[in-house]
């Protein structure tokens, strides 16, 4: 029922919609407090808060990483063994040093350049592939679904690290290969969610309406179905960023990471793994926090932007 739907804008009553200030003047029951607590105001406020908090979190990571070359940082590859394993907040080494005496801050920032590229490209690729394949499977059904679903299942059931290692072993651990491998590892998740959502979505009347217009099925998927499930799928895709960066760590750990001694987050983390319990907690924890900060930031910005768009749209949900 459309009237339960709190956002049917007044088609013929523009005079009734007033700026909050003036309606408060009239004999209105709307108080400033109520207004502040209203869903729309809260959503607007929190979308801004989320965007800001998220942007700050992400910027705290991304900006220094992007500017790593320009910042007055020690060399990320060269260190002095005499400064081996200094804890955080040691003079000259905010994040401390690794056993080789290299400045961890510098390594994290320089390493971030590779890791960000790998992580972001990987989720973009896996997101795109997953969404397209999942949507095709869900929408077309039939043999397309069979092939995509079986592929998904086969891949998901193959031990992930095994496949990654084999592929990296075959093609060598270059950044494009690692990126693709990680993307390949991650596409099932968005694909399955997309497929599930599309299975429901394709039965909705507006899809039928689009068919009647003579839209090609591909256009229906691209213009109608995907945009309507995208938000849900993005929940998954954006969260995969952490996994993408950390998968590189698993690869590094198994000896299939990016060429030494060039740092990556994954590499730093995997190197620090056996040292973690021996008291050198910062080698893993700090890059971990950096990744968490980035992923929290990206997801909050995503949330915030979505709510913002929604507000402009005036949708209620």
């Amino acid at each position: 029922m459309s009237t339960a739907n709190p956002n049917v804008s007044p088609p013929s009553a523009p005079d009734l919609s007033q700026v909050p200030g003036s309606i408060l003047g009239r004999d209105s029951a709307v108080t400033k407090v109520l207004l502040r607590r209203s869903a729309a105001a809260r959503r607007a406020r929190y979308s801004t808060i989320k965007i800001w908090v998220g942007a700050i979190c992400a910027a705290l990571v991304v900006l220094p990483v992007a500017l790593a070359q320009l910042l007055p940082l020690p060399d990320p590859i060269v260190g002095a063994l005499s400064e081996s394993s200094l804890p955080p907040f040691s003079p000259g080494h905010l994040f401390g040093t690794d056993p080789n005496g290299r400045d961890l801050l510098s390594r994290v920032l320089h390493g971030g350049q590779t890791s960000l590229v790998i992580g972001i490209l990987a989720i973009v690729v896996s997101g795109l592939v997953g969404i397209v394949a999942g949507a095709a499977a869900g929408y077309f059904g039939g043999w397309v679904d069979t092939i995509v679903s079986r592929l998904l299942e086969a891949q998901m059931s193959l031990p992930l690290l095994l496949m990654l290692l084999l592929v990296v072993a075959l093609f060598g651990p270059s950044i494009p290969v690692i990126t693709l491998v990680i993307a390949f590892a991650q596409w099932p998740e968005p694909a399955r969610i997309t497929r599930a959502l599309v299975l429901v979505e394709r039965e909705k009347p507006y899809v039928a309406a689009a068919r009647v217009l003579g839209l090609h099925r591909v256009s229906i998927i691209a213009r109608h179905v995907i945009p309507n499930v995208l938000q849900q799928v993005l929940v998954v895709v954006l969260l995969l960023l952490a996994q993408a960066v950390l998968l590189e760590s698993a690869l590094s750990f198994l000896g299939a990471g990016v060429q030494r001694p060039y740092p990556t987050w994954g590499g730093i983390i995997s190197d620090g793994r056996e040292l973690f319990v021996t008291g050198k907690w910062w080698l893993v924890t700090i890059p971990g926090i950096v990744i968490a900060l980035l992923v929290v930031g990206v997801n909050l910005v995503g949330d915030g932007l979505r709510d913002r768009v929604r507000r402009a749209k005036g949708d209620q949900s």
Partner: protein, 310 residues
């Protein structure tokens, strides 16, 4: 329905076969050498050759494949190079551990993440929700072994509540389960939250409220019921992924599951063992997926399975 299931089972057999075949070929194409792994240090060519012969690796890949198939049809996946026992037997020994951990982890995840997601939807756009989001996302973004170690240090070493190395006492499943759950909760709770926010505002919910249906029923039977598909899908996907092992967690907690097995098998290039694992986990994952797919029409009667769109 029955035909659909039968069709899916047929496809499963095919998929399992193709997956195993792919792994078979990939393994043999990838660098690495089983012979070198099972030879003494600094082996001579003659020693290597002897081992290859013993393992049947001296033949060409197609010939090896045909032999593999012949054995496969007799139900023999081969003998583990490392364990010197039928590979399938080794895998089957580990499987209960993996399944136990996966079930425990998925149950805990669902029990925590779903109410959390519902709570977040009800508190949409509040400081509490923001806090829950930040905490869960940060949790899932930390390296898995980090979480494992921190839990171990806190609960096993400092508090002494749980034993650190797994499977020797009932409570030792707790920490690995919690570790895995921490990695899943963000996703599930956020999915639930997204769907619930939409469904809590759906017209049918308001109408049901007008009929005096209790808020609890509205939340769970109506709103959550309509949110279930993506959530169950995500749970199913994660569960299936866990069935081939939660490698790091298994390693850290010494949980004798399939994941640890297969990573070691890979390091040792234990081809038959890897093939056996793949065979078993493919079948398992396919069963889980089939199960999830069969749930769809129950969760939403509009969904039609296995049909091309009209």
């Amino acid at each position: 329905m029955l035909t659909y299931v039968l069709k899916r089972i047929g496809q499963t057999v095919l998929t399992a076969f193709l997956a195993t075949a792919t792994v078979f070929v990939l393994l043999r194409m990838a660098p690495g050498d089983p012979a070198a792994n099972y030879a003494p240090p600094n082996p001579t060519s003659a020693q290597l050759e002897a081992i290859r012969q013993q393992f049947g690796l001296d033949q060409s890949i197609p010939v090896q494949f045909v032999t593999f198939l012949q054995h496969l049809f007799q139900g023999d996946v081969g003998t583990s190079f490392f364990f010197k026992r039928p590979a399938l037997e080794v895998v089957m020994e580990r499987l209960p551990y993996t399944i136990t951990l996966a079930v425990a982890a998925i149950v805990v995840t669902a029990l925590v993440a779903i109410p959390l997601g519902v709570w977040m939807a009800r508190r949409a756009d509040t400081a509490q929700e923001l806090g829950a989001n930040i905490a869960t996302i940060a949790g899932q973004s930390m390296p898995d072994f980090w979480i494992g170690f921190v839990l171990l240090i806190v609960f096993a070493v400092n508090l002494g509540w749980f034993s650190p190395a797994g499977f020797d006492s009932g409570s030792s499943i707790v920490l690995p389960t919690v570790t895995i759950a921490i990695l899943q909760i963000a996703l599930i709770s956020r999915l639930v939250r997204r769907e619930m926010v939409g469904n809590l505002a759906a017209p049918y919910l308001t109408v049901a409220r007008s009929r005096g249906i209790s808020e609890r029923a509205l939340t769970w039977r109506y709103a959550f019921g309509n949110s279930a598909i993506p959530v169950v899908t995500a749970l199913g996907t994660r569960f299936a992924a866990m069935l081939n092992g939660v490698v790091i967690v298994e390693v850290v907690f010494k949980w004798p599951g399939v994941g640890e097995l297969v990573v070691n098998a890979l390091k040792q290039r234990d081809f038959p063992l890897i093939q056996a694992t793949v065979l078993v986990t493919v079948v398992l994952a396919l069963v889980v997926q089939l199960f999830v797919d069969l749930l769809y029409p129950l969760m939403d009667p509009r969904v039609r399975l296995g049909e091309a769109s009209a």
